[in-house]
């Protein structure tokens, strides 16, 4: 595929991600902060998000696995994840976090565990989508676009 076709593909793919709510306007903001002097800004921030999320998901699994769940700790982790997902525009992840925090408030361990599963799921999807997006961008560059 040539650069033009790839670009079209990228546009279509990106529009889909927004339409289906994987990404929101905040992701646009990130893209607008990228320029020739900072050509990898989006990838860098999103990579930090991936690292952060994976760490937090692990911490959440551990915290919920305890005999006596420390809901304050769980809530703190979810709050962090909510923040970082919001900052990069990972809307679906952010929304699960909101529900998750409600269950924390209610000290509802079943609800929390369900949300954790959902979080893992949504995170995995958005990660795959973003990686595909970045891969397309790389292909465009390689094709001289």
């Amino acid at each position: 595929m040539d650069a033009l076709q790839l670009k079209r593909q990228l546009i279509t793919f990106t529009e889909l991600l927004f339409r289906e709510g994987f990404l929101d306007e905040q992701f646009h903001q990130l893209q607008q902060l990228q320029d020739e002097k900072n050509p990898n800004f989006v990838v860098e921030v999103v990579s930090l998000f991936f690292e952060d999320s994976e760490r937090l998901l692990n911490e959440l699994a551990k915290a919920l696995d305890q005999q006596n769940v420390d809901y304050k700790k769980v809530d703190a982790h979810v709050h962090q994840l909510k923040g970082s997902s919001s900052s990069i525009g990972a809307q679906r992840v952010q929304r699960v976090c909101i529900v998750f925090r409600n269950y924390c408030n209610e000290k509802n361990v079943e609800g929390c565990l369900k949300c954790l599963q959902q979080l893992k799921h949504e995170y995995a999807i958005v990660k795959t989508k973003l990686e595909a997006l970045f891969s397309l961008e790389q292909q465009i560059l390689a094709a001289g676009g």
Binding site: Q26, L30, Q32, V45, L48, D52, G83, S84, S86
Partner: protein, 245 residues
């Protein structure tokens, strides 16, 4: 605890005093950004840099205070680097919250003139009020937008010895924490260990420009602002006498 400095003044370009700063150097503001989230630090840093700010990003209130020279027993060093024009801090942080950091800054006569802006992902009115009462210039909802950053530049551009200004409905009665005089010494703060900052601007403040106020939330203002400004920013110049509007 009281220290001089940590506070930058803008030098007018074309100053006749013979100091040779390039126009860019003398006009770039230095912002200290405080956030425990790495993602958010990276984001705010980039956002501020696109607005031609120099940025030092730290991950905690403690580090911020160290940077500002607040917790070190050193005498002020007489050079112009590392002065801070604005502090923008997250509210929810482990250890020291943004609110606690704000209080510490406002309790320090050397630093209290530095405008402090709080960021939060949670729109809690009591929290906002508390911060504004403590002397925060503004309270910004995360994620921070470019329009928010443009507002921040307005705070910095107007200098730091503002007259009392009108407030919007978010404001409660401001408590001035000290009866100190308004004038700040210009000695810079101690230089900390190297951070991610670049070298700093310095210069004299322009004391003649009045601050402007507008609402940062979509609510009707208590007092109509007389200054033309964007409809989405809130400013407090916190060294007004108690009770004055």
């Amino acid at each position: 605890m009281a220290r001089n400095g940590g506070f930058s003044r803008r030098r007018r370009s074309g100053s006749a005093d013979g100091f040779d700063l390039s126009p860019t150097d003398s006009e770039e503001a230095h912002v200290l950004a405080v956030d425990d989230s790495l993602v958010d630090r990276k984001f705010i840093e980039r956002l501020l840099k696109t607005s031609s700010c120099k940025v030092t990003a730290v991950d905690s209130g403690m580090r911020a205070l160290q940077f500002l020279g607040l917790d070190e027993e050193k005498s002020p060093v007489d050079f112009d680097s590392l002065k801070v024009d604005l502090i923008i801090t997250d509210y929810c942080m482990p250890g020291m919250t943004g609110y606690e950091l704000l209080k510490k800054i406002k309790e320090c006569s050397a630093l209290r003139e530095i405008p402090v802006v709080i960021m939060s992902s949670e729109n809690v009115v009591a929290r906002i009020d508390r911060c504004l009462e403590e002397g925060a210039e503004d309270f910004i909802m995360k994620p921070v937008k470019p329009s928010d950053v443009r507002r921040l530049k307005d705070y910095m551009a107007r200098g730091f010895r503002g007259e009392s200004c009108e407030r919007n409905n978010h404001k409660r009665k401001l408590h001035d924490h000290s009866s100190d005089h308004l004038f700040q010494s210009s000695s810079p703060s101690v230089s900390p260990a190297s951070w991610s900052s670049t070298s700093l601007t310095s210069g004299s403040a322009d004391p003649s420009s009045p601050p402007s106020v507008s609402s940062s939330q979509p609510q009707s203002p208590l007092i109509a602002s007389s200054a033309p400004s964007s409809p989405s920013s809130l400013e407090i110049w916190n060294h007004r006498p108690d009770g004055s509007e």
